[in-house]
């Protein structure tokens, strides 16, 4: 995937811009708090049509502004496409157009443009709570498979209704939502399990490629019965009183976890900072491969200050791994030129007080 052109109006602190982007990518160089990451965020926004770092659209809107507009013109293989977003702060309305036509549902536009982001906060993928890893799975598998995206949407809708009934103490009403919960939940669980089965070896390989030692493990913690819709009735029956007591559904893919180990011990509990960082990068490498295999084209890569966090050995290894054999477009931010790996050959643009210069 290649982003050919980006148009921004009122996006974060960035001065309004309309830039053509080189097919190989760009390095955005500049001191901190100038807007480098905001530019990267703009490139990543039209993937899920929300901010990479979890900010709201109101926060993405330039300070005190009426809203923002973003237009991304990109190539998916040979096909040229356009994604446009207009957000009006006054009524909090977001309008999304794909190839010039408005989309009725967000899911129709999700994944038309695909980029994988490596962010400094990614260390939480390995060291943070389970919700980080579930979000990782959901984002990646939604972009790789429309079946997953649809099943996930149905699961979340059923779960929200069932939990509302449980909170209201309406047991028979909650029970009526068991069937749609089981149908969608078993699909989500089965697709996650299938991905994990094929990903464990690759995770180990990615982890080792960063110079880490020790046998690693990647497994999915769930009740295996939940991968089959028929397994849900008994499982929900067992926890019915607990669910009623807590006013929420206590089993299902929204409670599962992706468990990472090294030398048989939990990375989250026993991993060093360096190991956690490497494990997080290995997960992102897996995301890249998974999406590329599913879509047939490499996603764009967004690397936010990733190299600065690594020692020079790991830097070089990651750069080799990411850049040597890739044909996809790469966008990198760094505060200084000397923090970039030597092998990185990309045009350099500077970002200063929201102004991007060096653009073609």
């Amino acid at each position: 995937m290649h982003l050919d052109r980006i148009v921004l109006r009122g996006f974060r602190n960035l001065r309004d811009l309309d830039h053509l982007l080189p097919p190989e990518g760009v390095v955005f160089l500049g001191p901190n708090a100038q807007g480098k990451t905001n530019f990267l965020e703009a490139i990543g926004y039209p993937v899920l049509f929300r901010a990479l770092r979890g900010a709201t659209d109101a926060e993405v809107t330039g300070f005190g502004g009426p809203g923002f507009r973003l237009e991304a013109i990109f190539h998916d293989g040979d096909r040229s496409r356009t994604a446009e977003v207009t957000y009006t702060a006054g009524n909090r309305r977001k309008r999304i157009m794909l190839d010039g036509a408005p989309v009725a549902r967000l899911s129709e536009a999700v994944g038309a443009w695909v980029a994988v982001a490596f962010l400094p906060r990614d260390v939480a993928l390995a060291g943070g709570p389970a919700t980080e890893r579930r979000q990782y799975l959901d984002r990646m598998l939604s972009l790789a498979s429309t079946d997953y995206l649809r099943a996930l949407a149905r699961y979340r809708a059923a779960l929200a209704q069932r939990n509302a009934a449980l909170r209201q103490g309406q047991e028979p009403l909650a029970r009526a939502f068991d069937a749609p919960l089981a149908a969608a939940g078993s699909e989500v669980t089965a697709l996650r399990l299938r991905w994990v089965a094929g990903a464990a070896d690759r995770f180990a390989e990615g982890f080792a490629s960063l110079g880490e030692h020790g046998p690693t493990g990647l497994s999915y913690r769930t009740d295996a019965a939940l991968a089959d819709p028929a397994g849900w009735a008994d499982a929900l029956q067992r926890v019915r009183n607990r669910d009623l007591g807590r006013g929420m559904t206590t089993i299902g893919p929204h409670r599962d976890d992706l468990v990472l180990t090294v030398d048989g011990r939990s990375l989250r509990d026993f991993g060093s900072t360096g190991q956690l960082r490497s494990a997080a990068i290995a997960l992102r490498l897996l995301e890249l491969t998974t999406i590329e295999e599913a879509r047939g084209v490499p996603p764009a890569l967004l690397l936010d200050d990733v190299f600065a966090e690594l020692d020079s050995d790991r830097q070089a290894r990651l750069a080799d791994r990411l850049l040597a054999q890739r044909v996809g477009q790469v966008f990198v931010t760094a505060p200084r030129r000397d923090e970039l790996p030597a092998g990185l050959q990309l045009p350099i643009w500077s970002v200063h007080q929201g102004v991007v210069t060096g653009a073609a």
Binding site: D147, R154, A157, A158, A160, Q161, R162, A164, A165, R167, Q168, Q170, P172, L173, A174, A176, F177, A179, P180
Partner: protein, 197 residues
């Protein structure tokens, strides 16, 4: 102007009408002159004062009971349960149904605070227990909440000694198989039928 603003606000509260459309309708009425607006106002007033919910089935009626509940030629042993009154018109267009209706007045959605007590479920049970009902056809919408409402009603009606059926889901007439979504196709496959004749 306050009068115009008030009309725009009222129109914009209607389903499917945004503020821009409401403004366009308002200026259209102004352009057409007072007679057009008065006719519309009279029609609205008549509907508001004469139309009510049928005491038996909840459909719209100008008398105590609606046209279907009063029609002795319609089969009182067959009840088609729908979410909203508008669905009655849709089932009528099929011309296949000669029974009577029951309008629930919505569908179960705990998130919106709509539980069984908010729907006309008790009056459905009363009708069923009143005798003479052989079959209840659940014709709620094929959305998740519509399906759940049907499941719930099925549980409630179990043990009442009657047949409870659900509308089949499948392929649209005149459609093209390659444009049918996977879920609909899966349902159509599960509910496939032998060719008769």
């Amino acid at each position: 102007m306050r009068a115009i603003e008030a009309l725009v606000t009222e129109l914009a509260r209607l389903p499917g009408i945004g503020r821009k459309t409401a403004q366009r309708l308002t200026f259209h009425l102004l352009q057409q002159g007072p007679e057009e607006s008065s006719r519309l106002a009279r029609a609205l007033d008549t509907v508001a004062t004469t139309v009510r919910a049928c005491a038996e089935c909840g459909y719209v009626a100008e008398e105590e009971r609606c046209e279907f509940c009063r029609d002795a030629r319609r089969d009182a042993g067959l009840i088609c349960v729908v979410e909203e009154a508008a669905s009655v018109q849709a089932v009528e267009r099929s011309t296949e149904f000669r029974g009577r209706y029951h309008v629930l007045g919505g569908r179960l959605s705990p998130l919106d605070g709509i539980g069984p007590e908010s729907l006309r479920i008790d009056s459905l049970l009363e009708r069923v227990r009143g005798g003479g009902v052989r079959e209840v056809i659940l014709a709620t919408n094929p959305s998740m909440e519509g399906e759940v409402t049907a499941t719930y009603l099925h549980q409630v009606l179990a043990g009442e000694g009657l047949r409870v059926t659900r509308l089949a889901r499948g392929l649209p007439m005149g459609g093209d198989l390659e444009y049918v979504d996977g879920v609909t196709l899966a349902h159509a496959l599960l509910a496939r039928q032998d060719i008769v004749g």
